[in-house]
């Protein structure tokens, strides 16, 4: 029986002991997950969520072209004029920030680990020489990339379809589009981090997520006191005025709301969202590192 030579042992040990760094591991997982997220049946859901506003914008454009929508109306006996940029602001708030972003966050965020557990493939990931936290982080990056790649072009399309309507001007409103895109990216990142935490923490993450966005958030936002600070939408609302038309009644109402602390200032919003993002993702990573996943037989 031969004994290992003195020179061969350290070489083998040094090769196997060097585990890939956290970021490079996360990048590998990102690379693997991005394709899975983009080319799956989920894309149908994503297309439905972000394609809907585009369809509405196309229909609206056709109606305006055929002079079936004038943008003039009466509210409480006062005449009001709705132009393209105002409609775009409405769509950003109603379709994207209040609906698509939370829905995509809940759908993908809660599924980051749950999918692997459900498909019983988590074992294959966890037996690789990468940290569990890197698996979650890589998947989170893939979620951001895949949703961003679909949501942001949809917003661009809606912008170019809607803003020129009823006397709107693309050039002067372009900065608001950039703000909107940034806002949506922040929304996707924060909701994704929060729901990644819920996905890592709860056994029934999807219902918990739905209760949070459609039960907790709408109720708590109108409750006086500090309760509304425990929502994401409160901080997102604080950034919305920059994405809305800067002149007219809307901005006046928003500035009054901000002055009375119904809406937070931009700085408070950024800090609040940053905190949720970091704490959410950090806790989710910590939980995944420590949790024992028992697969159902």
């Amino acid at each position: 029986m031969s004994t290992p030579t003195r020179s061969s042992v350290p070489a083998a040990t040094s090769e196997s002991a060097v585990a890939p760094a956290f970021l490079s591991s996360a990048w590998r997982i990102y690379d693997l997950s991005l394709g899975q997220m983009l080319w799956s049946r989920r894309t149908v859901f994503m297309a439905f969520v972000v394609g809907g506003p585009v369809v509405v914008a196309v229909i609206l454009r056709l109606l305006v072209t055929m002079d079936l929508v004038s943008g003039r109306g009466m509210v409480d006996g006062r005449p009001i004029i709705v132009d393209g940029p105002i409609i775009f602001g409405l769509m950003i708030w109603g379709f994207y920030l209040r609906l698509s972003v939370p829905l995509l966050g809940v759908f993908y965020g809660t599924a980051l680990m749950a999918d692997e557990v459900e498909d019983k493939t988590i074992t294959y990931l966890f037996t690789r020489p990468v940290s569990r936290g890197a698996v979650l982080f890589g998947k989170y990056l893939a979620y951001l990339a895949s949703t961003g790649l679909v949501v942001l072009p949809s917003v661009m399309l809606v912008f170019f379809l809607v803003v020129p309507l009823l006397g709107g001007d693309i050039g002067s409103n372009f900065p608001s589009l950039v703000t909107d895109l940034a806002l949506l990216t922040v929304g996707l990142a924060v909701y994704g981090a929060l729901f990644a935490l819920i996905g890592a923490w709860f056994k029934r993450p999807l219902l918990t997520g739905l209760v949070f966005i459609f039960g907790w958030e709408p109720i708590v936002v109108v409750v006086p006191g500090y309760m509304k600070r425990l929502t994401v939408s409160y901080y997102l609302q604080g950034l919305v005025p920059h994405a809305m038309p800067q002149e007219g009644l809307v901005s006046t109402i928003l500035s009054i709301l901000q002055a009375n602390e119904v809406l937070p200032s931009a700085a408070v919003s950024v800090i609040g969202l940053g905190l949720i993002l970091v704490v959410g993702l950090g806790l989710a990573t910590w939980l995944v590192e420590r949790r024992e996943y028992v697969l159902e037989q």
């Binding site: 049946r41 989920r42 859901f45 439905f48 969520v49 809907g52 509405v56 609206l60 929508v69 943008g71 109306g73 009466m74 509210v75 009001i80 709705v82 409609i87 409405l90 769509m91 109603g94 379709f95 209040r98 609906l99 829905l103 809940v106 759908f107 809660t110 599924a111 749950a114 459900e118 056994k203 029934r204 999807l206 219902l207 739905l210 209760v211 459609f214 039960g215």
Partner: protein, 280 residues
């Protein structure tokens, strides 16, 4: 040497059930399964929260004359259903999303349908499970509230003056739960993932509401309320409770949309719930 277990042919010694009752087995099993989940009890408790609050309000108004403000009216019962809408969504998603999708995922549909069980019975059983829980958060508490009002006030005056409330509560609850249950079952039959089905349902309900909200904001008119899943129910609810319809769109159009959605769901279920996929 005697065999440990005789696996040869044996006669069936059980009781033969009449045809058409097998759905009860599926429904009862489904109900029992859901009731074992602790989280669902929390959802149920939250859904009954409004009932407890209203019950206290009814008690106070019946016993303290200076609290007439809290006295029940037809609008109270209409509002009760409006607030319950969110719980109808949660219960539909929680109970309904996996009802057929999980069977499709584990290929249990073929096993079910290889038993003396028709496709209609299978769907009826699954529907029964969902309807049971949906009625538990809509019809049951509403009827109990009406009963409590009578008991607290020790008078039939309110019920007598609003006798239509009894059929109105029943009819509206049935319309609401049948629409939710059929739509969810149809979506569940389209997928093998309960999570995907749940998101699709929530997406449809909330997206159609958002579309209506935007269109309403742009045109200052609610004549396109029929576009929204929820607005149709609200419109029908107002008519059933003899209140002024809140939207400009004709309520009959909302009835047609609801009937079409249920019909479409039945058609999807008929196409998707099959034991063997036959490729022609």
């Amino acid at each position: 040497m005697t065999p440990i277990h005789d696996q040869s042919y044996r006669r069936y010694t059980g009781v033969r059930q009449e045809p058409g009752t097998a759905w009860l087995v599926i429904a009862a099993t489904g109900i029992r399964t859901v009731l074992t989940k602790k989280f669902f009890w929390l959802v149920l408790l939250a859904a009954w929260g409004q009932f407890f609050v209203r019950a206290v309000m009814f008690y106070l108004s019946a016993n303290f004359s200076n609290l007439d403000l809290l006295a029940p009216s037809v609008e109270t019962f209409r509002q009760f259903f409006e607030i319950q809408e969110i719980f109808v969504l949660f219960v539909t998603v929680y109970v309904g999303s996996g009802l057929i999708a999980n069977d499709r995922r584990s290929n249990a549909l073929q096993i079910y349908l290889s038993k003396p069980l028709t496709r209609a019975e299978y769907v009826a059983g699954k529907l029964g499970t969902l309807l049971f829980f949906l009625l538990l958060v809509t019809l049951v508490p509403a009827l109990m509230l009406l009963f409590l009002e009578m008991m607290f006030s020790a008078s039939l005056a309110f019920v007598g003056a609003n006798l239509f409330l009894l059929p109105a509560i029943t009819l509206y609850a049935l319309v609401e739960v049948l629409l939710s249950a059929f739509t969810m079952l149809a979506l569940s039959s389209l997928s093998t993932s309960a999570r995907y089905t749940a998101m699709l349902y929530a997406g449809v309900v909330l997206f159609t509401a958002a579309v209506f909200g935007i269109v309403n904001g742009i045109t200052n008119s609610s004549s396109l309320a029929w576009l929204s899943f929820r607005a149709n129910l609200d419109q029908i609810g107002d008519v059933i409770f003899r209140l002024q319809p809140r939207f400009e769109s004709p309520w009959l159009l909302s009835v047609v949309v609801v009937a079409l959605l249920i019909g479409l769901s039945v058609w999807v279920l008929e196409r998707r719930v099959r034991g063997v996929e036959v490729v022609t």
